[in-house]
């Protein structure tokens, strides 16, 4: 066999491991993407939303008269108009209900109160200003601890008398659920017998995913055919189709949901928002297409937030720093409606991954969900469900333990790691970690940055009272749980969290593949084709990937929680293998040998011992349509629905060095080293891009993003003037590295990567900033670490210049 020739053929495939350029970018960089707002239809109407200026108020009346006089305004819809269709409330993914349009009461600022439909966008906006709403203000509850006091105002009057919620007992009118995991008795026993214990209160502030494209839709109902087509910014179009069918009564076969190009999701585009429902209701009523696109202020204020976890964590350890127990207590602020996007059975998502990368024998966690007068949401912002919160908790706690025991951060982690030979490892919370090699990764990072030298430099700086900066070193060794998930545990509205792939190979050797996921920027069209290329031996360049149209794509649960590669990626490999198996039969038929006499090589089947006798996949594609073995169906296509046997557990070691100006509190990120292990790597260039994006969003959360509320429930920070989106000016330089520990249960060993850098980097920044103050006894600082807040700590610690 000719080695250079083989190499050439391999390169021509541009399969797995190839850094092929992103297929999507050609249209994106030329401004030729096709986003929802690019869609225009004949006679299309425009919708705008009347929103509440108050966080909590009774609606005494809504006067549409003046609005209807505005030229161009065709209709104004309120909750009363939706009532006959039972569309004024809608079910949430978390088993609660949410108001579509405020029904007698508003529960948060910027809540949807009425919609105005007009012939153009300007008339709709004028109409919104002319709608008169008479409010009676009610006492506002912003703090979840205040919400749980016995005499706190009742926020959800619609739930009066309901002592049972979707996740068990409600013991207070503002209480949603109490959920727990682990073994409380075992954890308590570990603490009773512990030589050392530490505890720390941590607040993970409310943030917003803030994708560049806001949410919106174009809904179009054809009254003659009874068909509804809706272009929508959704990370889960099939789930939306099911929800719309359940709400409207239209059969799913007559509903087509299309997610075209999506400008970033990060969890923000998982939910079903009132704007979508109203636009759909409006097109059904008016018989014309209706477009709704929210503006930035509406996006930040009213569509799904993330985090808002008040966490109390405790660690028990032996005298030499071996962790023996973990206890966690969380008060979770869910806002006005419980609209968290989690697998149905997990109201706190997969928060119980909070034992992290450590072999902790006993652990217990409890999460209490609470209603407040804030916007609903609770989505996984570039992470698997509540995994960011979990990783933040354990990584911060391990730091606090190291500080108390005067041990090095790296040393205490190494001491407590789940060892390579312990995998598959079952955690105290019941997760079965698939694979990992944490020590190798840690050693690689410490060596790359010369950790000892950094610590020596820090010691020298601390010893010098005139040093103008404080130096901090953050270290995090995180493990994520992604790829939800096994249908025995995970479902959304009763639909198991499988995903799907359908591949159709054409006679001339090209193919189209469709999946139930939808790229929001992850380059699925590029990377999915690479999996197929390697599996079936056709060049990725001629494999079209199509997603997002429910009328053509097989049913899938969508893209979030890093599930595309772990779940859909597996479906792609399995569907490809079905095609490969059929191709082998055809090849054997063509070469007149037995299947067992064939060897697969890159893009062809060779007859064993005589590679000159072979059939390329391209030959087989042609034969599949004219010369198949007797009794075989013609054609070459396959469908696979993949129900993962387990989650995947990507991990990484991140290290960050910061220098804090003692005069201004300004924090410079001197170095950020990110080592990720996502198992098999499909496209290293795309992975690096995803990691850069995740690190940058992590930097945004840790260093600047916040959604502050005042006592009246005003959100002070819902414009990009206030809400921090880092540009190339602020973003630090990223250094990336990797190890490869494939997942043993995934067909190609891939684990998912896009969210790891977000999950892992946030605690790393906090770890670095707090580390700068560690010698002054500081164990925690609440994000975001803006210059002002860091300066306040400098003053408090007596080291401000």
């Amino acid at each position: 066999m000719n080695a250079p020739e083989t190499k050439e053929r391999l390169a021509a495939l541009q399969g797995m491991g190839d850094s092929r350029l992103r297929k999507e970018d050609a249209r994106f960089i030329q401004g030729k993407g096709n986003y929802v707002d690019d869609i225009k239809m004949p006679e299309m109407l425009h919708m705008d939303i009347v929103r509440s200026p108050f966080a909590h108020a009774r609606i005494k009346g809504i006067d549409k008269t003046e609005a209807l006089k505005v030229p161009g305004v065709l209709a104004v819809l309120t909750a009363d108009d939706l009532k006959p269709f039972k569309l004024h409330w809608m079910p949430t993914l978390a088993g609660d209900v949410a108001a579509v349009l405020a029904d007698e009461k508003v529960h948060f600022q910027m809540q949807e109160v009425a919609v105005v439909i007009a012939t153009d966008r300007y008339a709709a906006a004028d109409g919104v200003e002319a709608v008169q709403v008479d409010y009676e203000e009610l006492p506002v509850v912003i703090d979840p601890f205040e919400a749980l006091k016995p005499d706190a105002p009742v926020l959800r009057e619609d739930l009066a008398g309901k002592t049972e919620g979707a996740h068990g007992k409600r013991d207070h009118h503002n209480h949603i659920f109490t959920w727990d995991a682990g073994d409380k008795a075992a954890a308590d026993a570990a603490f009773d017998n512990a030589a050392v214990t530490v505890q720390q209160h941590l607040y993970y502030p409310r943030v917003h995913p803030c994708p560049l494209e806001t949410c919106g839709c174009v809904a179009s109902f054809d009254p003659v055919r009874g068909e509804l087509t809706t272009y929508l910014t959704s990370q889960a179009p099939h789930v939306v189709r099911t929800v719309v069918s359940l709400l409207s009564g239209i059969p799913e076969s007559k509903i087509r949901i299309v997610s075209p190009d999506i400008g970033g999701g990060f969890g923000n585009k998982v939910g079903v928002y009132p704007g979508y429902v109203c636009a759909i209701a409006a097109t059904i009523v008016l018989g014309k297409p209706v477009k709704w696109i929210e503006d930035r202020v509406e996006n930040i204020s009213s569509t799904a937030f993330a985090r808002d976890y008040h966490m109390d964590g405790e660690i028990a350890a032996t005298a030499d720093g071996r962790i023996t127990g973990l206890r966690v207590n969380v008060v979770a602020d869910h806002g006005a409606f419980d609209a968290c996007a989690d697998p149905t059975k997990f109201p706190a998502g997969l928060f119980h991954i909070c034992s992290g990368s450590y072999d902790i024998p006993a652990a217990y966690a409890q999460v209490k969900g609470v209603y407040t007068n804030k916007a609903p949401g609770g989505v996984a912002y570039r992470c698997s469900f509540r995994v960011t919160e979990a990783v933040y908790l354990i990584e911060r706690l391990v730091d606090v333990l190291a500080q108390k025991m005067n041990m090095d951060k790296a040393e205490i982690r190494a001491k407590n790691f789940i060892k390579k030979e312990q995998f598959p490892y079952t955690s105290a919370f019941g997760f079965e970690y698939d694979s990992g090699d944490y020590q190798t990764a840690l050693d690689k990072v410490l060596e790359a940055v010369d950790y000892k030298a950094l610590r020596a430099e820090q010691a020298a700086k601390r010893a010098d009272p005139s040093c103008p900066t404080l130096m901090g070193i953050g270290l995090v060794s995180f493990t994520e749980v992604v790829g939800a998930g096994p249908s025995k545990m995970c479902d959304i509205l009763g639909v198991g969290m499988f995903d799907s792939c359908e591949i159709r190979v054409h006679p001339t050797g090209s193919a189209i593949a469709r999946m139930g996921t939808i790229s929001t920027g992850q380059a699925h069209a590029t990377t999915y084709a690479q999996i197929i290329a390697t599996e079936i031996g056709l060049p990725s360049e001629v494999i079209q990937v199509e997603e997002g149209d429910t009328s053509t794509a097989p049913y899938g649960l969508g893209t979030y929680g890093s599930r595309s590669t772990p779940v859909a990626g597996a479906a792609i490999a399995m569907a490809s293998r079905k095609i490969h198996a059929k191709a082998r039969k055809i090849a054997a038929h063509l070469l007149e040998v037995s299947e067992n006499d064939l060897d697969w090589e890159i893009d062809r089947f060779n007859v064993k011992g005589d590679p000159s006798k072979h059939k390329t996949m391209k030959d087989i594609c042609w034969a599949a349509y004219n010369n198949v073995p007797p009794g075989m169906e013609m054609g070459l296509e396959a469908v696979h629905y993949y129900d993962p046997p387990n989650f995947t557990y990507p991990f990484g070691i991140y290290l960050c060095v910061v220098d804090i100006d003692r005069g201004t509190g300004e924090t410079q990120v001197r170095r950020f080293y990110a080592l990720d292990d996502c198992g098999t790597r499909i496209n290293p260039m795309v992975i690096e891009g995803q990691i850069h994006g995740g690190l940058t969003e992590g930097y945004a959360v840790a260093m600047g993003q916040q959604m502050p509320f005042d006592a009246q429930g005003n959100l002070q920070g819902n414009t990009l003037m206030d809400y921090f989106l880092p540009t190339s000016v602020e973003t630090p330089h990223w250094e990336t590295d990797h190890t490869v520990t494939p997942s043993p249960h995934h067909p190609i060993g891939a684990k998912g990567v896009a969210e790891s850098p977000h999950v892992g980097s946030i605690p790393t920044f906090t770890s670095a900033v707090v580390d700068a103050f560690a010698h002054l006894g500081v164990t925690d600082m609440t994000m975001p670490h803006t210059s002002y807040r860091v300066w306040q700590q400098l003053v408090k610690s007596g080291v401000a210049l």
């Binding site: 200026p53 108050f54 200003e129 202020v297 005042d710 009246q712 429930g713 005003n714 002070q716």
Partner: protein
């Protein structure tokens, strides 16, 4: 968003003269730039508007005013105003103001304590500027008030207490039809820079 302001402004007219303005809700309202009483509902209830313009954005707050106390003996006025703008902002103000003798004969001091509660867009966008803007608004008010009180003095016979009813329309003092936010912005920016360089204003 809640803003509390505690202010004292010098008035170049006597307490009695100044009271002719403060004791008359219409006259007092007229001193507030952009404010207007549009309707009197009964002895203590009024309807009014405040108009402000920031660049192309015009905000018109329409709402209710209730006079909670009017004490001529103490030269004290207490009122509460509450209004909303169509574009999604609402504001309420609780104001207590009284007059004290000034540092010199024939002068007085206007002492005001106001609590503003703002909700909606104004509170979302403007939170950082709300205190300085309110400050600057009150300063303009005080200036107009001073001029109105001076007009009362000119119209009244010297030495006689100004009859409140007769002085009901000391109109020439406050011609501003709307709050000129550009002029206001300049005051705010000046104040901000002064604050930045540690100058106490």
């Amino acid at each position: 968003m809640e803003v509390k302001l505690d202010k004292t402004y010098p008035v170049g007219a006597s307490v009695a003269q100044a009271w002719a303005v403060l004791g008359d809700i219409r006259a007092t309202a007229a001193c507030m730039p952009g404010a207007q009483i549009t309707e009197q509902l009964d002895d203590t209830h009024y309807k009014g508007t405040v108009k402000s313009k920031v660049g192309p954005a015009v905000m018109t707050f329409g709402g209710d005013i209730e006079v909670l106390a009017l004490e001529p003996a103490a030269f004290r006025l207490q009122m509460v105003g509450k209004g909303a703008d169509k574009s999604g902002s609402s504001a309420s103000m609780n104001l207590t103001a009284h007059l004290e003798p000034g540092d010199a004969e024939g002068q007085s001091k206007l002492v005001g304590r106001a609590t503003f509660v703002v909700s909606g867009k104004l509170a979302q966008f403007g939170s950082r500027l709300l205190v300085p803007v309110s400050d600057a608004m009150l300063a303009q008010f005080a200036k107009n008030f001073d001029a109105a009180a001076a007009a009362v003095a000119a119209a009244s016979a010297v030495g006689e207490p100004a009859p409140a009813v007769a002085a009901g329309t000391p109109a020439p003092a406050a011609p501003a039809k709307e709050l000129n936010a550009l002029a206001l912005m300049w005051t705010v920016i000046k104040g901000w820079f002064a604050g930045l360089f540690g100058k106490k204003t």
